[in-house]
Assembly symmetry: C2
């Protein structure tokens, strides 16, 4: 099983690693196939009959430690089957990620998308893999509820036929939310240090700006900016929902 610490092996077999009781519960509640479970006796006896895995092994805490991608391993380790090919979005809100490198940011953005009901995430080929163990962990389960696809991003943006929102220093400040169209659109988030690449920026139809009220910080963390912009773009959806006749 230790071979599955290697991303390459997981890629070849189209599986990904899920660790800890919280994420294991999310996996079991999802429609994803669970190929292998390695867990402590404690976890296994608490979940007798609930684990629909192809193979199930009882392991010691020390063995779990060797399997784990994290400093502290945690009761259960799973190999879960990837859902591919996933569907490319047809309308609705889409999160587009351009060369995101940090697994924590990537996972946090999937988690935020899940919170705001954004089910489709489209990534440039050089964005970190959504099946990276640190990404999976940071999604807090969103990996099981989000469609993630890797594409030629500028090309996809050019042909998606939706408004593309992207943060730009020349953008419109998001202080005033009147007139935001939120029924469908793409929110484009750029690389942590270099921002949106020129090729992707060329496809932005709606440049937006989170006002730098302090005037001293150079930038926001990518996942924080994504959260602020998702909230901005989607609040009308929420208001509309509330006003729908029962």
């Amino acid at each position: 099983m230790a071979a599955y610490r290697l991303q390459k092996r997981c890629d070849e077999e189209a599986v990904f690693v899920v660790e800890g009781p919280k994420m294991a519960a999310e996996a079991m509640a999802s429609e994803f196939g669970i190929r292998v479970v390695c867990a402590t006796e404690e976890w296994l006896s608490a979940h007798a009959g609930n684990t629909v895995a192809e193979e199930c092994f009882e392991v010691s805490a020390a063995e779990l430690e060797r399997l784990s991608n994290f400093k502290t391993s945690n009761q259960v380790w799973m190999l879960v089957e990837r859902c591919t090919p996933r569907r490319l979005p047809q309308g609705g809100m889409v999160l587009a990620l351009d060369k995101i490198q940090d697994p924590g940011n990537m996972g946090t953005m999937l988690r935020t998308a899940d919170w705001f009901g954004v089910r489709h995430v489209v990534c440039s080929h050089d964005t970190v893999s959504c099946y990276n163990p640190k990404v999976v962990q940071a999604t807090m389960g969103a990996i099981f509820r989000t469609e993630v696809e890797y594409v030629d991003l500028p090309k996809w943006l050019a042909s998606c036929g939706m408004p593309v929102y992207g943060a730009s220093l020349q953008g419109n400040p998001i202080g005033d939310r009147d007139g935001v169209v939120t029924k469908e659109g793409v929110l484009l988030i750029g690389n942590e240090s270099r921002g949106i690449s020129p090729e992707a920026m060329a496809q932005v139809t709606h440049p937006v700006l989170i006002p730098n009220i302090g005037g001293t910080a150079e930038s926001l963390n990518a996942s924080v900016a994504a959260g602020i912009l998702m909230n901005y773009l989607l609040w009308n959806n929420y208001n509309t929902k509330k006003e729908e006749p029962r």
Copy 2:
């Protein structure tokens, strides 16, 4: 110098570690005293005359590696003097952190506060130290522009005399921003897994809710929630600024 990898030693001497050219530049541009610089020949020759440190050492890449708190060390390592005692806030916007544990979250929240011009951060005593090397790094320089104080948080909230905004499932959805008072107030952010503690929640005067539009995710990342709420509370300030007569 390797002893300064220990937080305890840094606490005793009231210093903190700053690493890498970006953060070193922020330190040099700040009013913080720089006690020691250890840097490669390359960095030192590029900054000849600019480093106002009490002591300056040329080190090899291997020596820097041993000093570093990170997997990849980066040209320069500094010991910077803490600014204590710092002032407790008198009005304005204040970020209050209740038992935040993750250094990345803490640093990211300071960075976001800096972006939005929030200069004061008040933390419960059991919040992670703002001088933790991972916090310092994640602030991207905000550590040099933010006043961080550790207090008995429920007691401080009870006596601050300002409205206290806190995320709560019973709060008012932030979709509608009319009537938000933003001239002064406290934004309270709770622990990553347990949220705001009951003692601190008892001091919340304005419970708010980030609408869970998706309906599937359990929660948002603490620093993403903080970003969305800072943007929410402060946008009026930005609009007011724009409208001020010249």
